[in-house]
Structures are given as structure tokens and as C-alpha cells.
Symmetry: C2
Subunit: 185 residues, 2 copies
């Protein structure tokens, strides 16, 4: 185990029950009733689901020092006992996005889209973790995992509405939004 | 094959003959006489060498638009018939580097270290390609492959001397410099 690799497996078993799947852009994912998040590695191929997305955590790619300080002060970890709702949102961006230079992507992400600032408004209610998968040949570029209390779902929807109207989101060409609830032990 | 993954295999066979191995910082690599560069994928594990470093090409992480335009105007591709010399330089950076925010890393890379500007002075004589491997659990963070004509080796040494005295290089905690010549068909 390398520690930074995870398999997100959609199927008929798992700790998270699927309550809704919405395809916002591009191709859908095959419908499933359950999702598992499994600590994995680069080469683990087998899974017991209908599909699997492999992704890894990495260093921060865009956030600048001042934003990171603000985020660190308010952000929450995954796994809070009250956070029995989750969202699994795999995203792919266009080739045009990836062909941009770092400062061009940063300008769209930061100055034009206020991606981090939007997120800050919803902390600590919404916990968030980003995983990368573009470099390892997966059908998406990133997956983001969100956790929140059931009462905060309307707040979470508002967060997504804000992000999806940004300049940055014009570069998103595949997005699926899977909502989940934690199955009690 | 995903197309962006490569195995760099050190052993006793291969298209490139090792002419020198110098460990600049950190642990050495086991000495080998030959190196192969093999188009690979995420899961290919087998190799016929003493060691293998798996790495992938990715989007540009630091270069800004103006630098990219300058680079594009003068940079050369790998595989030029006269470029029978190569250098394979795997590098690892400290945890302190990876804990920095994007703007802090960019400031060290750009304003303080002039990494791209230094490189520009040596183009098109020195062709260069960067591969990433930190995210996939390899013993290095990057490997860079350089190609040049035999007469340009002193120029290449000068390029490395310049880079190794930059602020950025204070964050390098493992570096091995392997020099190679192409074995004629």
C-alpha cells in the first residue's frame, strides 16, 4: 500500500448507499446502489463492483499561501460522526484547460472563479477531499469527496451551484454527482 | 498502454550505454552498465534490470505563458540523429518543498531560481523531457532526460552547475546523474 491511492468502487455492496446519481455533463456512469472507498495502490486491479475509479491524493496544485492559511483555520476532516451524507463527484476538464500554462489556469481558478473563496463560505459544515486521476489513465481528471450532516444538504447544493457558474466550470466536459448516505454499522 | 507512462530500466542490456554515474545527494542507485527507456503503463511490473523507475509525462506544472512561448520557439525534440549523448537525472525534493503552497513553490522556481531562464540559455542544443513519479510511490519525485551532441557535453555541465546553485536546489535531497551514449544500431 502506498497510502495515497484509493479505489472508488460502484456496485451492489459498500459502506455508502447511493441516494441519487445525476449526470451534469458528458457520459453517465453505470447506475449502482452502493459505493466503497478502498485504500489501494497503483497496481490493484480487481474489484467487486460495476465500475472502479482509481485516484490519489497529492500536493496542493493551485492554492496559494494566504488561501491555505484561511482554509487550515476552518476546514474539517472527513469521518465526523454527524457527517452521514456524502457526495462523490468525478470531473473531467477539457484538453483546452490542460493546454493552458500554470498562470492561465491559476488566473481562471483564482481571480475569475474565486474557487477557494466560494469554498471557504461553506466551511466547516462541508468537509472536502480532492483526489487526482488524470495522469493514471482514468476516465476522469479528479474526484472530489464531500461529507456533511443531513441538515446541510441544501447548503451543499448552494455551494455546487456557485462553483458550476464560474469561469472554471466552462472547462468541465464530464461531471457526475453521486449522493450517498452512510449505512449504520 | 496509456501513452504517458515509461519505465526507465537500469541493467546489463539496453539501447543506452552508461558512461558515468554520479550521486550528488542522498542514496546512490545500484551501478548498471546499460539503461532502457520503455513505453509502459501503470501496472507493468516486470523488467529485466537491476532497478526500474516508473514515471509519467503530465501537464505543465509551473511554466507560465510568457516562458512557454519562449520555450516553444527554441526547444528541441528528443531523438535528433546527432544527439547521441544523454543524461538521466532522477531527483527527489524534501517534504518541506512539497508542503509549500503553489505560489511559494512558484516564487522559488521562478523569481529566485530562474529555472526556466537558465534552461532557455541552453536551447536548442540541449533537448529535455520531464517525467513525474512522486505520486506513484517511486523513490524519486521526477526524472529528467536530456539529449545533446557529444560536443555539447561541457555546455550541458554548465547548465547543471547553474541549476544546482539555485535556491530551488536547496530543496533537493536525492539526485543521481547518469550519463549515457547511444549504442549504434
Amino acid at each position: 500500500m502506498q497510502g495515497n491511492f484509493f479505489d472508488f468502487v460502484g456496485g451492489s455492496v459498500g459502506k455508502w448507499k447511493v441516494t441519487g446519481i445525476e449526470t451534469l455533463t458528458g457520459d453517465a456512469l453505470e447506475p449502482v446502489t452502493h459505493l466503497s472507498v478502498i485504500s489501494s495502490d497503483l497496481i490493484q486491479l480487481e474489484h467487486n463492483g460495476l465500475w472502479r475509479i482509481k485516484a490519489f491524493t497529492s500536493n496542493v496544485r493551485y492554492a496559494e499561501k494566504t488561501d491555505r492559511v484561511k482554509l487550515a483555520a476552518v476546514q474539517a476532516e472527513l469521518g465526523r460522526p454527524n457527517s452521514t451524507c456524502a457526495a462523490f463527484i468525478p470531473i473531467r476538464k477539457t484538453e483546452a484547460w490542460w493546454a493552458l500554462a500554470q498562470d492561465e489556469r491559476r488566473r481562471i481558478f483564482g481571480a475569475q472563479s474565486h474557487h477557494t473563496e466560494i469554498g471557504l463560505n461553506y466551511l466547516p459544515a462541508i468537509a472536502r477531499k480532492l483526489y487526482h486521476c488524470r495522469d493514471i489513465g482514468q476516465p476522469f481528471d479528479f474526484v472530489t469527496w464531500f461529507e456533511y450532516a443531513p441538515a446541510d444538504e441544501p447548503l451543499f447544493d448552494k455551494l455546487l451551484d456557485s462553483l458550476r457558474t464560474t469561469e472554471e466550470w466552462k472547462y468541465v466536459d464530464r461531471e457526475v454527482d453521486i449522493r450517498l448516505t452512510l449505512i449504520p454499522n
